[in-house]
Symmetry: D2
Subunit: 400 residues, 4 copies
């Protein structure tokens, strides 16, 4: 039995899998919003590691505000060039002095951002194709006090909440894995696809449409024929991939905005639309679970870039997803589980004001049969909430 | 009978008013995120008016990316001062040449932003306390073609969706009106309250907690006693106001993070936390209806700053709320209505791919009794979709 | 007799008035370089006043680095418009904390810059036509110690020098007064001339050519005829003015780069070439006496923006000109005097390492006859060196 | 006999070598002003090469306005770190479209700047320790027309002038070579000296004082003893070096502002004072011949960053020095020669309005004896003026 305030109740809504229309979206790692999420989170990790290394504890910071201003490019078959650089402004707060010691927060952040961009975007020459600038102020004094004693469970920085769910619907799985597989396995053998891959899944009844926009990289594409082939290859790959996750009818569309006759195609020099006309910022794209799911409750909070100690907008979004996944894995008979964690400012984060599990059971299973198991799993996860902090710092948890 | 694809079906979920826990939030116009929303939208309106005045039609633009970097301030009873200015970067795309004529997009945007800030923030000396900078590129060529012929209904710029609902729950009404009334009626007689007012409503069963954070303006507050009185005054005012919207028990908390003993209170020089430590950006705060409502489906799209002609992320979020309100007003017997509009890229925006009304009827009313009325109202509203564009430009529709 | 190291010797060179070719230039207050000089100096004055008001003494600062990036404009007869704003970056160092008290150096600087621009450029809408940004760091710790005790004569911050001369040659007087009169008396009745007036004087023997470039303001000029008339008016005015200073032959050229047939004329919307294509920065234009005089020794040091307490690059350039003028006024028989002051870092500024007067006497006067008088005057001026500081702060001394 | 307007006349002044006081200064390549000069010139070269490669001719550009804002550093024996990055803003004008083709002026400039910084400053991590930003506009339309036909001699862009002299005095040689040798030969074996080396030479009669400020690099210096040794080593090296250029008495001072007792020494992490407190910009330091020589006429024009085709402020400053050196080398009997070239806007640059050689002959030599030789050499050099353009582009001519 737990002292934590854990509620388990039947879901207020039909299972998403049963709703007539379902929409799911994922912005790939090269989308301008995701570039910002990625940089913000990498910067946060670098700051966290620095504070731990130097002081044995995390200090206040929040870097969840990177802004990207698109550049100008002249892509061309066989290889074009960037004309005007992308501008990336890292914005946020960090502790720069602690117990008399200076902390190089800005240079650490810049280094982290550059290394992340270098690794993630092989066709983006950092410093030439993209300018990385920074404005990292110090926080307001008050906030610095919220961090608890070493070893103690931190206090919530805000009255806020996080939401998560499990398992993913078929459409969610397809959308998520389409981007992930294209940007890893497929990209290894197909350097012509850029990192800016946007996937939209729409299910109407049992018909799933998967619309994929892939920024093709000009240096690997000699002419229009090769471009068309590259598009067809992605199409075929995604069709195959989708069939692993569903028996429903799937139609795949790739780069539908192309107009071959006008010569208007999705060709880029760097692999991202940030090179020309698409601005971006943190927290405007994927939620903490990597998806945008309008059929589900979502949190507006940006997860990327926040400090992983006590920032509810980060911790509870990551944790609620973790909990949902654990419960579904550990407890039989659950068709859909939605987890919500509500914090109270100033209270220990392992004791949410409410932990709220909305459950749809499989046919023949009653909630009462499994309530206790669910509560126990939720309780265990909450007891280990600080693991989230560590895993974020170790880069074991993605935030977008 | 309509040729539009309008679905009316029973809601998949319990009415929000019946759910055990409900959370509602509103970031007031002086919150750093709202400052960005407000500037972005004002800039968009100014650009729209310019294009209309000069060419009789809207041209491509999108200014939904303003970034705010907090300043540093030294508030003090009786009047403090800003030490380092807030930095506001207006980011976006705009057409700068049309039919051989140059359009001063950047100077128009700067002027609009300054005027908005001047009007909205009486204690913020624009140019001294806040630097307004701008990076407004031109869009990618492709996007410019989407705008239809003059007079014709524009085509959707994306496959996307909008969501809206009506009526507001009691908690939603309280949260929304608390900020609106404080920032208008109450502020008239109480200059000590700043524009940065954040309201969080939490309902558990029949207990509603309203937590209000109000940035107090130092020049109107002589000492700690006056500060405490100002807090108590807001508390009393909100208690009164809340009772107009509900018979439930309401508890009001104001500036709960204050610590009088430590002298740590929410005192500002300019009326916004942007003066010290709180960054902000567009699309991170309120949704198009002015609220953050995690119990409801929400769109991740930033509404503010987008062009109001064919940007689904703007039009359909505003329109779905308009439709929901119209239907609830026109058709008797509806307890809760949630409207969703799904677009298809390249199709006329008055013909959404699906218009989806999820209805909870009042006791004794069957959906079938009112289905036709609902469809007719939805159909009428869709037929007049371009009114949304005009009303946005005329500043008759708020976007945050 | 003085303990100061004051040398008086015959000039090493022919009088400039006697040299065959003489070149003199003045960049008017609206020239992009002068805009930067003016802002830098105004910012310095504002900081100086602040330190004096708050602490009764000056603290370390140096703001001699403002950078202007030109905008884009579309001037047109009757009134054009700015398309992209000028960008002005105030750069420098200032003390931001003193004895535990915070000093709002950045907001003070911004306010001073805006007010200066507002007053000086009636057709420039500050905040719309020009963005004023700032990066004001703190100095290195060492520098802060150089400031002496209150009341004491400050120590030189560097081993450096200043140069000045008197009287002005005829060409120098013409060049200087042409800009000064055009930008004051003439401008009162002729609003069509902008502040960006550049004057180049070239004397070959007894022929003086005065080349004036005047940015005309489009809103006051209806067509090409009016433009031509405006040019002719300036020409006539300068011819008249020049004749007050010389009996030599003077030819005046105005806006010689114009090409009426191509329609290429010097028309501006704001009155300065900074609106289109001409960048600027501090210390690149006029020397401390308001002129560029390649026939004379000049100091490379920027005078504008430096602190007026102990910065030799400022004090000694202003003072050497003051001394030269005093000596020439007080002592009869001097045809040309060039003053040079050489400092030694860490020594009191009223005791230069060397004060070096190079004198050309009038016919019939021997240096020995007036040496003592000269030394006395120089000595007096040096004894009152701190007057320079006060007069700079009181805006009684121009620095460019 | 030449048709060019070449004047040869006796100097109006005593030889600088004979004047009682002589002051000479050189800011080394790592001085903040020189960093800007170096970047500006490198950017100019890269743009020039690009235009030549792509169009076979130079197009309009001018990048003589780089601005550096100092960072913040925490140097420490054995190796410190940068806390806040230096900010470098490249400013200027460049042609971005020519005959319908886009030119990536900004990315080319950024790449050139980074490569220059990487090569020149081994201890500066570009992108981390220094942010390189850019604002490169297009010029005003008029200016673009000045560039002549291919092959033809370009027309002067302005009525301006250049000055140069030869030979260098002993003090000039010492000052110049001290920095050059320290930053090359000496640095090879002594990595502890940074690139920011400032040399001031002051000669009074036959006593020469050489004051050297060398930024020491912390990672190579373990403690105060090693620091003192490093200072003494530089002292000894410069004493040796100076004796190669003069028989006069030379006293060398190194890092005189150090205060060992206070622990206030010139220790840096990156080798330049730009890391902490010293801002910089183009054209504020060395003249085109690498020196600041207040005993000589100087041009105020920034040489670095200007286009080398027709910009008189660049061409004539470089050329007049070249001519002076050639004449002194080719013609016997010259003790000091000062060359001045005066242009006339719109006239071919190989035909200056006046080329003016002021000559001091050696004892026993009359000007008339060598006048013709001088005129011939000057004439030859003027005839080959376009070589200057090529040599600038090939990086064979230093501009600062």
């Amino acid at each position: 039995m737990t002292e934590r305030n854990i509620h388990v109740e039947p879901a207020a809504a039909r299972a998403v899998e049963d709703q007539h229309i379902e929409i799911v979206e994922r912005k790939g790692i090269g989308h301008p919003d995701s570039i910002c999420d990625g940089v913000a989170e990498e910067v946060a990790r670098a700051l966290a590691r620095t504070y731990l290394d130097r002081f044995g504890r995390l200090l206040h910071f929040n870097t969840d505000e990177t802004q990207l201003v698109a550049g100008t490019a002249a892509p061309a078959f066989g290889g074009g060039e960037m004309l005007e650089p992308i501008y990336l402004l890292i914005v946020g707060r960090a502790t720069k002095t602690y117990e008399g010691e200076k902390i190089p927060a800005e240079t650490i952040a810049l280094k982290a951002a550059r290394e992340y961009l270098d690794e993630t975007f092989p066709h983006l020459d950092v410093g030439t194709d993209i300018i990385v600038d920074i404005k990292l102020g110090e926080g307001s004094g008050d906030l610095q006090d919220v961090f608890g004693e070493e070893g103690a469970v931190p206090m919530a920085n805000d009255t806020s909440y996080g939401v998560g769910h499990a398992p993913l619907t078929e459409t969610e799985q397809i959308v998520y894995n389409t981007e992930r597989q294209l940007n890893t396995t497929y990209a290894e053998d197909n350097p012509e696809i850029g990192q800016d891959i946007k996937v939209m899944g729409k299910r109407e009844g049992d018909q799933i449409d998967v619309t994929v926009a892939v920024a093709m990289v000009d240096r690997y594409i000699a002419d229009m024929e090769e471009y068309k082939q590259a598009v067809r290859d992605v199409e075929a790959y995604v069709e195959d991939l989708a069939s692993e996750y569903t028996d429903r009818d799937v139609t795949v569309y790739v780069n539908t905005a192309d107009d071959y006759e006008e010569g208007s195609i999705y060709l880029t020099t760097t692999g991202t639309s940030a090179e020309q006309g698409d601005d971006g910022s943190v927290g405007r794209g994927n939620r903490a679970n990597g998806l945008i799911t309008p059929n589900r409750p979502m949190s507006m909070e940006a997860t990327s870039g926040k400090n992983p100690v006590n920032h509810i907008g980060k911790i509870y979004n990551l944790l609620s997803t973790e909990i949902a996944e654990s419960v579904v894995e550990d407890v039989d008979g659950i068709r859909q589980l939605q987890m919500r964690l509500l914090s109270q400012i100033g209270q220990p984060i392992d004791h949410p004001h409410v932990a709220d599990a909305q459950v749809l059971t499989e046919d023949g299973v009653e909630i009462e049969d499994i309530r206790e198991e669910i509560v126990d799993t939720v309780d265990d996860e909450l007891a280990n909430v600080t693991d989230i902090t560590e895993r974020v710092i170790e880069n074991e948890l993605s935030t977008f």
